[in-house]
Symmetry: C2
Amino acid sequence: MITTVTLNPAVDRSYIINDFKPDNKYRVNDVTVTVGGKGINVAKTASILGEKINATGFLGGLSGDYIKRELVKLGISTSFVSIKGESRNFTAIIDPINKTETTVNEEGPFVTKSELTTFIKEYIKILKYSKIIIASGSVPKGVPKTIYRDMVKIAKDNKVIPIIDASGKYLEEAIKAKPYMIKPNIQELRDLVGYGLKNEFEIVHESRYICKQGVELVVISLGSEGAIFATQEKVFKVKTPNIKLVNAVGSGDALVAGIATAMIRNYCLEEMLKYSVACGTANALEKEIGYVDRKKVEQLYNKVELLRLV
Amino acid sequence: MITTVTLNPAVDRSYIINDFKPDNKYRVNDVTVTVGGKGINVAKTASILGEKINATGFLGGLSGDYIKRELVKLGISTSFVSIKGESRNFTAIIDPINKTETTVNEEGPFVTKSELTTFIKEYIKILKYSKIIIASGSVPKGVPKTIYRDMVKIAKDNKVIPIIDASGKYLEEAIKAKPYMIKPNIQELRDLVGYGLKNEFEIVHESRYICKQGVELVVISLGSEGAIFATQEKVFKVKTPNIKLVNAVGSGDALVAGIATAMIRNYCLEEMLKYSVACGTANALEKEIGYVDRKKVEQLYNKVELLRLV
């Protein structure tokens, strides 16, 4: 069982509006409503790939009810902690004419101390039947900066493999507890190391430095360029096959879902890297965030180029 | 009991975003979520004015659940028909720097024939304990153009006073059944009569013409200018007191709520007109749509100027 943790899930609403400009009144019929938040994207993709998934985190209010209901529809089991606050809404306005994407992201609810305590108890229970725990994305107000570090520690104490996809202080703290894997993008790595990172050499250097601190696998996502995968012994650059991009949002989450799925299936390192990039790429072929076509994943797998750097 | 009918209610979300521009990513904490739709605004205002209100129409999905829950919180009894579709969402982005207001209004759900039949049955039941029926606002897909006409006819057959605040074909049809009152704004009156309406004389002429077709009271709302009230015998121009405007959205609905409240309380025509304009004006003093301060309504009442035109 793979468990995904989404501390700050969202209801995502996407509107297609031609020639979108401020101060206008728009009446739209092209609206897509989905459940979102990075951990939930991971859960969706890994579930489509055929894995048994449990999703946890915090859910509140009617947005929370909606998220839970949709996950159950997708065959994902849920063990979210109910909170008094309302789960956040995320609105995207896509303008196909001017090729703009305007997003309005609510900060999300406040989580109380007692809700946090309930979550940690629930988390410890979940670990008993999980092989991998993936915690992704932003953290709601009220939750301490050390949350992911604590979760990594508890997971390792319970022999569960922790994967963290976070940024800023949350990532910095998480690394101290030595998660199995982290997946910052270039900007998140820059924030972490505190300087510009001008070339591949510097990215590799910093990734290996994180590995030396005890993270087994450091994945630096490079968007359409693919990703750099670093372990203590080996570093690979994995190049994405050329595709006709539809929507790249969620591709990093699909990559993480691919890694976890590959681990459950005991793929070797090289197979795991190729498979995860195939998953990320397959997601970019789809309009829906977190959706992949399994057949396309298999086709793409054979087109992923693995380049050993170290 | 006053019953308000909202066939296409909404969840309204307002975001305050400084210097809002397309193609940016905004993270917001200033969000106001309320229940909306013209009929629901009327229900809110009339309820605050102290009347017993029942709200009906169609509600669907989790947005529908939210609307119902909020109305119950406000002490409004509800008898909505549940539909399979999802009630619509309305998003407003207010930019205080550039003084713009950008709105994205979903079209709303599709109503099936059997849901419509259920509504009409429910409507007939509701009429038994209603004195006034107010049907306001847009109509969801699947509902025929004659809906308000049918509702007016059924109301009159049951000795219930029908008030219609609609536009376009829906209003045109409704007039054929002779509702007690209609309340188009200037643009809606133009659409109805099919020409420009350059001056007050033409507005009065057309309003009286509608009265001659059997509508007792025709109210033409003129925004901050007030309103023109026409009956078969008399025509008044009612001028809004000077105020420091906060948010004029919903003022027309508050005016309708004022009319219905005045009718329940057996005010004479002149009192009714002054009271309704005081309600509309009081609403424009508040940030929240559909909210009025009763004390302010009373204060404004004495400042409303009644000018007899005919």
